[in-house]
């Protein structure tokens, strides 16, 4: 490069002249709002929304996230979400349930739901006798445009096992066993409204004559029922109360949103007598290991340790481990709990509290060999093996 001269001064002066002096005030306000609703990624902690793991696991949610990116970055799409084909799926024949789907138990209604998973016929105070790996209902919630949550908010299994993870807290994943009676009570509450009789998608539909909504984030609730046969999705405005100003009110979305809130605290949905024992921390026997290994990248350095310091439980190169992800930089496979613990042992500082792997675990490494970064994501598998590496992989 030549030495600085009048030309350089001219360029520097022009950039100074054209640069805005101040950021608009609303930018800081908007940032504060987003920060308040964005959990930090902590090694070994639960505040790990936004993991790419669920991008692998929830294809529908990924698609929805892309749609919402269009909302957030206003103008990305030619047409606002909610117009025309974003109406509820015509195949859906859901009964509107304005009062939300948590309703008083109704044996008659329960019996009438053809696709409703049936609890043990012999209701009793003993734990349910169904298949512990059979899924009755799963809820995943993803808010804002960031990558989705890594694990389900709740999984209800046919044997009455409930595994849940509070979205907002730093608590570990919890599990508790319903009695057969308790399982019957909960399934009645969940399925009586008919929201999960058929697969359906409910997205915001813009009110006719209203201006284009301002950019905003969104929350996606994805319910999976009947061991995966039924998937019901709902999208709502994230963090703003004036959704009804721009979008048509929809009883199904309202019911699904309210149910999602209620499921944050499943213990409150049924009486104490519905539980066979106290809640405990959920520990997976297997873990999904998702590696995002980027070569020659512009990923910012965080001063993290090198990937070669980790005792990987496989011999293959990092970018050949397991199965490919949704692009060539993601690799996914299941490992045992012991193997997961060995990885974590190598990553934590000697004086740090050892994570017990009862929550999603994230760590970022430098990858000297590949001149880039490696994101390590460990997620305990749910009783039905979810999230697996199948689907969009």
């Amino acid at each position: 490069m030549s030495t600085r001269d009048g030309f350089d001064d001219l360029v520097a002066a022009r950039l100074r002249d054209t640069a805005p002096q101040e950021a608009p005030a609303h930018l800081m306000d908007s940032l504060i709002n987003r920060v308040s609703s964005t959990p930090q990624r902590r090694r070994g902690a639960l505040g790990w929304l936004n993991s790419p793991v669920a991008r692998l696991a929830v294809a529908a949610a990924v698609l929805a996230a892309a749609v919402v990116a269009g909302i957030q970055f206003g103008g990305l799409f030619d047409r606002p979400i909610g117009a025309e084909e974003s109406s509820p799926s015509p195949s859906a024949s859901i009964q509107p349930s304005p009062s939300a789907s948590i309703q008083p138990s109704s044996p008659e209604a329960s019996a009438s739901a053809a696709t409703t998973p049936q609890p043990s016929a012999e209701a009793s105070a003993t734990p349910g006798a169904g298949d512990p790996s059979e899924l009755l209902l799963r809820l995943e919630t993803i808010c804002d445009v960031s990558p989705p949550q890594s694990i389900p908010r709740i999984s209800l299994m046919a044997d009455g096992t409930v595994v849940w993870h509070s979205n907002a807290s730093e608590l570990p994943i919890q599990t508790r066993q319903l009695t057969a009676d308790g399982l019957a009570e909960m399934t009645d509450d969940l399925f009586t409204g008919g929201l999960f009789d058929e697969s359906a998608t409910y997205e915001p539909v813009q009110r006719p004559g209203t201006p284009e909504p301002p950019g905003h984030g969104a929350c996606f609730h994805t319910y999976t029922a009947d061991d995966g046969a039924v998937v019901v999705g709902s999208t709502s405005w994230f963090g703003e109360p004036e959704e009804s100003t721009y979008y048509e009110p929809a009883p199904e979305r309202k019911a699904l949103d309210e149910l999602a809130s209620a499921l944050l605290d499943p213990e409150s949905l049924v009486a104490d007598a519905a539980w066979a024992g106290p809640a405990s921390t959920y520990e997976g026997t297997e873990y999904q290991l998702l590696l995002h290994a980027v070569r020659d990248s512009d990923v910012p350095s965080t001063g993290s340790p090198d990937a070669s310091e980790v005792p990987w439980p496989f011999d293959s190169p990092l970018d050949e481990f397991g199965e490919p992800g949704f692009d060539e930089t993601y690799r996914c496979g299941n490992i045992s709990r012991d193997e997961a613990m060995a990885i974590v042992d190598a990553l934590i500082k000697p004086d740090a509290e050892h994570p017990v792997l009862t929550a999603p675990y994230y760590f970022s490494l430098q990858w000297a060999e590949g001149n880039g970064s490696v994101e390590v994501n460990l997620v305990p598998l749910m009783p039905d093996g979810y999230p697996g590496c199948a689907g969009p992989l």
Binding site: M1, S2, F7, D8, L10, V11, A12, R14, L15, R16, T18, A19, P20, Q21, E22, A23, P24, L27, M28, S30, L31, I32, R34, V35, S36, T38, P39, Q40, R41, R42, R43, G47, N50, F73, G75, L76, S146, S297, D298, V299, P300, S301, T302, G303, S304, F363, S364
Partner: protein
């Protein structure tokens, strides 16, 4: 609420607090830097709306990933990288959705003039606009932020040699544009 302090000691306290999850501390850190980040993004992207998105995305990523930042004294360098990355993301979106781009207000770019100083500025603006994102990034970081070559390499996460050659070619492209403009002005003056 954290006061908006300046200086490294206050910054260190704020960063430590933000790392531990204090949103107010992070807001204080951001408020000190947001004007400069916004200016940098606007110059890189030549679009204020996109710049807002990039700044917000960079700062949200910073908040989210701050616990992974081991060297707190590198916070500003790290944040610069996050902004560059967010600007690249925005630039890619801009290329895909050209029709939605809102260019800088006309008054910011100088009154069009085919001769003299204003014409030169106009040509310089046009030349900056024509630069690739890579070249504009290095021009903005060098000429506006005043970063040295090693700092440029760090901010853009590229090897030092790449930073040197990238700055060389970007500078030459800008200089060639101005030379052409000056030549055109002279010939128009000759005709007149």
């Amino acid at each position: 609420m954290w006061p908006v302090w300046e200086g490294r000691v206050a910054d260190a306290s704020l960063i430590a607090a933000a790392v531990s999850g204090d949103g107010d501390a992070f807001a204080a850190l951001a408020s000190i830097r947001i004007d400069r980040l916004y200016a940098t993004a606007t110059l890189m992207l030549r679009d204020r709306t996109r710049a807002e998105d990039a700044v917000q995305e960079a700062l949200v990523r910073a908040w989210r990933d701050l616990p992974a930042l081991r060297e707190h004294e590198r916070f500003d360098a790290w944040l610069r990288r996050l902004l560059v990355r967010a600007c690249y993301d925005e630039a890619r979106r801009t290329r895909r959705h050209r029709g939605n781009v809102t260019l800088l207000p006309h008054h910011d770019r100088g009154v069009p003039d085919s001769s003299g100083e204003l014409g030169e500025r106009d040509e310089l603006d046009a030349a900056l606009e024509r630069l690739s994102t890579d070249h504009r990034a290095i021009v903005v970081h060098h000429y506006y932020l005043g970063l040295s070559l090693p700092e440029l390499a760090d901010a853009l996460d590229i090897p030092l040699g790449t930073a040197k050659s990238r700055l060389h070619y970007a500078r030459r492209a800008l200089r060639d544009s101005l030379t052409t403009s000056r030549g055109r002005s002279r010939s128009e003056g000759d005709v007149a």
